[in-house]
Assembly symmetry: C2
Homo-oligomer: 350 residues x 2
DNA sequence: CTGAAAGCGCTTACAG
DNA sequence: CTGAAAGCGCTTACAG
């Protein structure tokens, strides 16, 4: 039945020069269900506005004919796409990949697709990518920058495109954000090292983006509260790599030979620091304790296993996407600022 | 000038109920350049068919008005999108992320976008995703499976969608593929271990997809040629993780206490194996040599640094994308099967 | 709750 | 090399 309906179409009565694609359209569904195309459109987009009886017949017809909506037509007609633009700092960092998995899982269920842009941790690049993507009329943005973007603020309300900020938290529930407190996480690491009895902890960081700086801020605060000098640190504005961790460790030992512990602001650096200690025969944690950030796969099974901050990066992606789609659908949102928290995994390295 | 042209449009003479979006269209450009919209369309898609003079005026008009093509309209009219569907085995594996970077870099330059699907290393899942994406009318596919997909083969030639297979090589230049010989890479590792004097090498693998099996095949061949028993191996059909590497190493030592070297079929496993040796106080490479695969960031700076196979994964992505787009544009292709080779990085661990 | 009409911005398929 | 006409498959903006 349905097969016949589909297959007869293109070959039936083609006017010369026809561009018929043979696809099942909303018009076919309408005919099959005995309603107008407009009602089919409503049944799909705003089912509440369609009588239950019509709705049932429409969905039955859709099933029978194997109708698949044409996104391009919808986008053209509505000037709004079903595509979300996602801007992450880096694609070579496992942290953001897991966030993308969360985003994908939510969006796939909601019928949206996404485009990925890489900002290289730079706010300027993010703003530039926003401009580029704006031409594709995305339904919304998922952003990584800690700051707001004028380009999105200045649009007239009618054409406003919603955005959610990931990883870091906004100041209020008015600007949508999903993440956790970078500052408190840094603070927690400092408290832990202090409680373990370390007296000369250092802060090691590369890729000095605003989130790193907030971890540092919290870390310094934790040390100061314990009466410890927070000035022991090495910051390099270079990309984060495992090898960089080794370099930072060498550097801090040169500058502060009495340093007894390091907080590496991510696990890649921590792994590099561990390798460097092994290379130099420095016992961990005996002579040097190491703490990382994120709990990447190797942290738990390194020798010694690495103390680190477990971050909810998958959930950040998933819930950011959810928050964005709820905005798009005009659903009520009770909290526009979701603090997903973090956990300190204490292991052998401290 | 251009600003005025753009801004006046929507407010000028709006018929009641107008849906004017205020966007600059091909029609505006045509008027500005003194040609028909059709000629503007041609200037953009097939510039060779447009007189140089017209072309110059058209591009000048585009610049002046700030025209941005509407993809949705183009897709609707042509029934072909500017989107490439990319199917990779996993998004949590750094290898495929770098491949995606290569794809993105090429496609961005060519004006295409891409959708990413995750196959979980399963051929069935890949076929299923192909079906799903087919509904979005992608311009082409970049696939990871070693095998062909009927669903793409059976389409009529007029609606055929081109595909390129990544990572592994096809049998001929007829089926497009970009990668390197997994078998020869495995063989190279075996030869290396044999030449170093190891007499009881083991093969360790998880995630037993076809590529792993080819590496194994080559590895076994290399050992057999040297008169060494290739039966020392542990294969587990579980996801690849660092921790799994530790498990595999424990296992091989139980089964074959005289094993003196291991070929881990990727670097995550190699890192886990190294950590396990450290935990057990087994010297590397003295008592146990370790070789990995892919040259991920930590391989070079581990202690000891890890011997591994350097694979061209960024280039695989970039050149696969290029091959696909060349097909789409109908450009001549001299080689449909690109062997990008590999390199053995010999380091301290062997 | 439902529908007829018009339009979104391109490209196809002709015809010169 | 160029253009007039029609159409791709939806949704908007009305009007009932």
């Amino acid at each position: 039945m349905s097969q016949r309906a589909v297959k007869n179409k293109p070959t039936a009565s083609l006017p010369k020069g026809s561009r018929a694609t043979g696809r099942v359209t909303i018009i076919d569904v309408a005919a099959e269900a005995g309603v107008s195309p407009m009602t089919v459109s409503r049944a799909l987009k705003t089912p509440a506005l369609v009588q239950e009886q019509s709705r049932a017949r429409i969905f039955a017809a859709i099933d029978r004919l194997g109708y698949v909506p044409n996104q391009a037509a919808a986008t053209l007609a509505s000037a709004r796409s079903q595509v979300v633009a996602v801007l992450v700092p880096s694609l070579t960092n496992a942290v953001f990949i897991e966030t993308l998995s969360g985003i994908r899982d939510y969006l796939a269920g909601a019928g949206y697709q996404f485009l990925i842009g890489e900002t290289g941790y730079a706010r300027d690049k993010e703003e530039q990518l926003i401009s580029t993507y704006l031409a594709h009329a995305p339904a919304g943005f998922l952003l990584s920058s800690s700051e707001q973007h004028e380009i999105l603020q200045t649009r007239p309300a009618s054409r406003a495109i919603p955005a959610v900020r990931m990883f870091d938290l906004g100041r209020s529930h008015a600007e949508f954000s999903v993440g956790f407190s970078q500052t408190r996480a840094g603070y927690a690491v400092a408290r832990h090292l202090v409680e373990r009895g370390y007296r000369r902890p250092a802060f090691l960081a590369a890729q000095l983006d605003p989130r790193m700086m907030k971890r540092r801020e919290g870390f310094r605060k934790g040390l100061q509260e314990a009466g410890i000098d927070p000035g022991v640190e090495v910051l390099l504005p270079l990309p984060t790599t495992v090898d960089m961790g080794a370099q930072l460790l060498r550097r801090v030992l040169e500058l502060h030979p009495d340093c007894d512990s390091v907080f590496c602001c991510n696990d890649d650096l921590a792994l590099g620091a561990l390798f460097e200690c092994q290379r130099q025969g420095i016992s961990v944690p005996g002579r040097m304790a190491i703490a990382g950030f994120n709990d990447l796969s190797w942290a738990a099974c390194a020798t010694p296993s690495i103390t680190t901050v477990v971050t909810p990066r998958y959930d950040i992606g998933y819930q950011s996407a959810e928050l964005l789609i709820r905005q798009l659908k005009g659903e009520p949102i009770d909290k526009g600022r979701l603090d997903l928290g973090f956990e300190l995994a204490v292991r052998e390295s401290t």
